[in-house]
Point group: C2
Chain length 175, copies 2
C-alpha cells in the first residue's frame, strides 16, 4: 500500500507534533527544512522556477533601457520581418491581437517602431523599426546577450543546445 497524502494527513491529525522535526526552536528564527516532495520532479514546477529566475535577470539587465521581455521579442521580430502585420506578429509570438495594440502604441510613442498603411489591404498596418529603433535594438541585443551568457554560464555549448532542444520537444508535443 502506497504512502498516500490521505494517509499522511491521517497520521498528522493523530499526532500533531510531527510538525516539530529534529531542530527545536532557534533563538529568533524558525529555520526548518521544508521538503518539496515530488514537486522537484514535475517539469511544470521546475520549468516555472527557472523561467522566473531567467526573466528576473533579463528584466534587471534591460531595466536601464526600460525594455521588458515581450517588448524585446516584438522589436526583434519586427526587425527580422520588416513590413509584417500586427496579426502576423501576434501569431508568431503567441500574443493576442488585442494585447499587441498597447505595446505597439508604446513602441511608436518611443519612436522605436512605426505603423504604415499596407498597400493592398487597408485593414492592416505594416510594421517597421524606425532607424532609431534599429539602433536601439542593437543596444538591447547586446544587453540581452550579456544576460544570456549569465543565465547559461554553467552550461557547456552542447548542454545549452540539449536544453533548448528538449524544451522545444516538450512544447511541440503538447501543441
Amino acid at each position: 500500500m502506497p504512502d498516500t497524502a490521505a494517509r499522511a494527513a491521517e497520521r498528522a491529525s493523530l499526532k500533531d507534533d510531527a510538525a516539530e522535526g529534529a531542530g527545536g526552536a532557534q533563538p529568533h528564527q524558525r529555520r526548518r527544512k521544508i521538503d518539496l516532495g515530488v514537486l522537484d520532479e514535475h517539469v511544470g514546477y521546475v520549468v516555472r522556477r527557472a523561467q522566473i529566475a531567467i526573466f528576473k535577470d533579463f528584466i534587471r539587465t534591460l531595466a536601464p533601457v526600460d525594455i521588458r521581455p515581450a517588448q524585446f521579442s516584438v522589436l526583434l521580430v519586427i526587425g527580422q520581418n520588416p513590413g509584417l502585420t500586427q496579426a502576423e506578429l501576434g501569431r508568431a509570438l503567441a500574443i493576442k491581437r488585442a494585447n499587441l495594440v498597447g505595446m505597439l502604441n508604446e513602441l511608436e510613442r518611443r519612436k522605436l517602431a512605426r505603423r504604415t498603411p499596407l498597400p493592398g489591404d487597408r485593414r492592416s498596418y505594416a510594421l517597421y523599426l524606425t532607424r532609431h529603433g534599429g539602433e536601439m535594438l542593437d543596444r538591447y541585443a547586446k544587453l540581452a546577450l550579456e544576460h544570456e551568457k549569465r543565465a547559461c554560464r554553467t552550461l557547456s555549448p552542447e548542454e545549452k543546445r540539449t536544453l533548448l532542444a528538449l524544451l522545444a520537444r516538450v512544447e511541440r508535443s503538447l501543441a
Copy 2:
C-alpha cells in the same frame, strides 16, 4: 561588419517592399513565414514558451477538480510538511506571505487545509491538510501524474532527468 538591426532597419526604410517576400498575395489569407531570428536561441524565450504550454495542459487536466498549479503545489507541500507555518510555506515555494493569505482562505473554505494555533508562537499558524484534503490531494496527484506523462511523453527517462537537472542548474546559477 555584422548585419545589425540598425542596418536592417536602414534597408527597410529605403526599400519598403522587402516586406513582400516570395509568396505573393494568397486568396483569402496572408500566410507569411515569420522568422523569429535569434529568439529561438534565447533560453528565456524557449523556457517561457515551454512553461506556457505545460501550464495550459496542467490547468486543463486539473480543471475538473478546480485546482490551479499554485494550489496544487501548496497542498503538496503542506501534505509533505504537516504543521509548517505560512512563512515557511511561502519561503519554500517563493510565494509572498501576502499572496498566501487568499490562497489559504480558499483552501480552508473548501475544507482541504486548515490553520491551527502554533503552540509556542502565537504569531503563527500551523498548517495541515484535513482528512478530506489528503484524500483529494491523492486524486489531484493522479491527474497531475497523467499530465506529467503527457508533457514528457517524447522524452526518455534519462532525457527528462537531464532536462530537470539543466533547468535546476540554470536557476541556481542565477540565485
